[in-house]
């Protein structure tokens, strides 16, 4: 997921309100249990994501990711469902079939487990969509600024900021080194080739990056930089932030109350 340079309502929100909304979402993802409440949460998050008007390619990626999460959660929970009653659809190993059977207590795919997995995957999909919405609507530096003003230590913030700057440089550097190694005859095809590439890529990449890191550190030190940053851009809470947070908070409380009173 990458930052989308657009002018949507979500983009205009203060990063802190998006972080707090993310926290509310995380709380709901953990607290909600009933299928309807989980489905309502998923629909809400889907609407928030749709507000971003993402490109078709992004939507396709998200759908593939959600479908894989959906399938794997259904399969894994189908196997590991331990509550009763449960109906075995397919039995792979009975508890009586030798040592493996006695260790595992039998391996079977349970119908109730598949349904449970399908419901639980709504949590994963909601989390995925919510994080995608936050990441796609907030510039990383603004997100860090928001986290800093919410209490994340400055040095950790500095480390994360610098590492974000390093990422594209490292990726370029890695491609350049791999190309050079291939021109010198390195075979990178297959699993063994992948491991070989990892081995021949890492030392030159790290050594070169350390050189860059040293240069950056020296440049910072000669400017008497101590880890504390002053920023040109200052975050300000607008009315829309308060309104959005108010609506989100009310929605969260209503969903929890709905779950508590529903049979």
């Amino acid at each position: 997921m990458k930052y989308l340079d657009k002018e949507t309502f979500l983009h205009r929100l203060d990063p802190r309100s998006k972080i707090v909304m993310g926290l509310m979402g995380a709380i709901l993802i953990v607290v909600l249990k009933t299928p309807i409440a989980l489905f309502l949460l998923f629909l809400t998050v889907l609407t928030i994501f749709a507000l971003l008007r993402p490109a078709r390619r992004t939507c396709r990626t998200i759908i593939v990711l959600m479908a894989t999460a959906f399938c794997f959660t259904m399969i894994s929970q189908g196997f590991f469902y331990a509550l009763e009653p449960r109906t075995a659809i397919m039995t792979f190993l009975t508890p009586e079939s030798g040592m493996m059977g006695s260790i595992t207590g039998g391996i079977a795919l349970y119908r109730e487990g598949i349904i449970y997995g399908a419901l639980q995957s709504l949590r994963l999909c909601s989390a995925m969509l919510l994080s995608a919405a936050i990441v796609m609507s907030t510039y990383p530096a603004d997100l860090l600024l928001g986290m800093g003003s919410l209490g994340v230590p400055e040095r950790i913030g500095f480390v994360v900021t610098v590492s974000i700057r390093f990422l594209p440089v490292l990726l370029d550097e890695a491609q350049r080194i791999l190309l050079a190694q291939k021109l010198r005859g390195l075979n990178t095809k297959g699993v063994r080739g992948g491991f070989r590439a990892f081995r021949y890529l890492l030392p030159p990449l790290i050594i070169d990056s350390l050189r860059n890191a040293r240069r950056t550190a020296l440049a910072a030190e000669v400017r008497a930089f101590t880890g504390k940053r002053t920023t040109v851009r200052e975050l300000r809470f607008a009315v829309r932030d308060w309104v959005t947070l108010g609506f989100s908070g009310a929605g969260m409380i209503m969903l929890i109350l709905y779950q508590a009173v529903s049979p």
Partner: protein
């Protein structure tokens, strides 16, 4: 939920114990700008090292833990060997966790205890042994402890609480065993690869 909250309290106690040990030994670390920038570099390298896992290998059931832990541990241990002092592990692991939350998975504090535990276990191990991966044996033991704690915590506490997903004990045992094996192999690779890097750092004029 109670189990998860209990685990968070335990992690806080672990952090307190580490801080107390550091204070009694007068070894509370200070990081220069160069240390911070190097740690940031390793956060990025960790992110890049596990990109193939994020794009596909994590979907392979049963053997995912093995594939994940090798590059992660190798890269982490090279980083710790470059800045061998208390706090480096926490800085790199938590920095990487925040980095991937900031640019890909969204900020979720419920995952922070997982990152803190992964850091604190190694910090405590290094403090007790007074050895920051100076020997291969120390690195292999550190890899073992990393694999053991991180995977048990993930499958027994994080996944059931955050995602409401439950796993059979035999599956957790298989994943943990793979995590341990992968972390030990990763530790060995990290030690092996860090030697030329440290030589270049010391004598090559980096």
């Amino acid at each position: 939920m109670n189990l998860y909250i209990g685990s968070v309290i335990l992690i806080v106690i672990l952090g307190g114990a580490i801080f107390h040990l550091l204070r009694t030994r007068n070894a509370i670390p200070t990081f220069s700008i160069q240390d911070l920038v190097t740690a940031a570099l390793f956060c990025s390298l960790l992110y890049i090292a596990i990109l193939p896992f994020k794009f596909g290998l994590s979907r392979i059931p049963v053997i995912q833990a093995f594939f994940f832990s090798i590059p992660y541990t190798a890269m982490l241990f090279i980083g710790i060997r470059m800045i061998p002092k208390a706090g480096t592990t926490t800085l790199i692991i938590c920095g990487h966790s925040l980095l991937s939350q900031t640019i890909s998975s969204g900020v979720n504090p419920l995952w922070w205890p997982y990152a803190l535990l992964a850091s604190f276990v190694l910090e405590l191990y290094f403090l007790v042994t007074k050895n920051y991966l100076q020997t291969t044996r120390n690195a292999l033991c550190a890899g073992f402890f990393r694999g053991l704690t991180v995977y048990i915590y993930f499958y027994c506490f994080s996944a059931p609480f955050i995602w409401h997903q439950f796993y059979a004990p035999w599956y957790i045992a298989i994943q943990t065993a793979q995590g341990i094996a992968g972390s030990i192999i990763g530790a060995y690779i990290g030690m092996h690869l860090s030697k030329p890097i440290i030589s270049a750092f010391r004598y090559g004029g980096i």
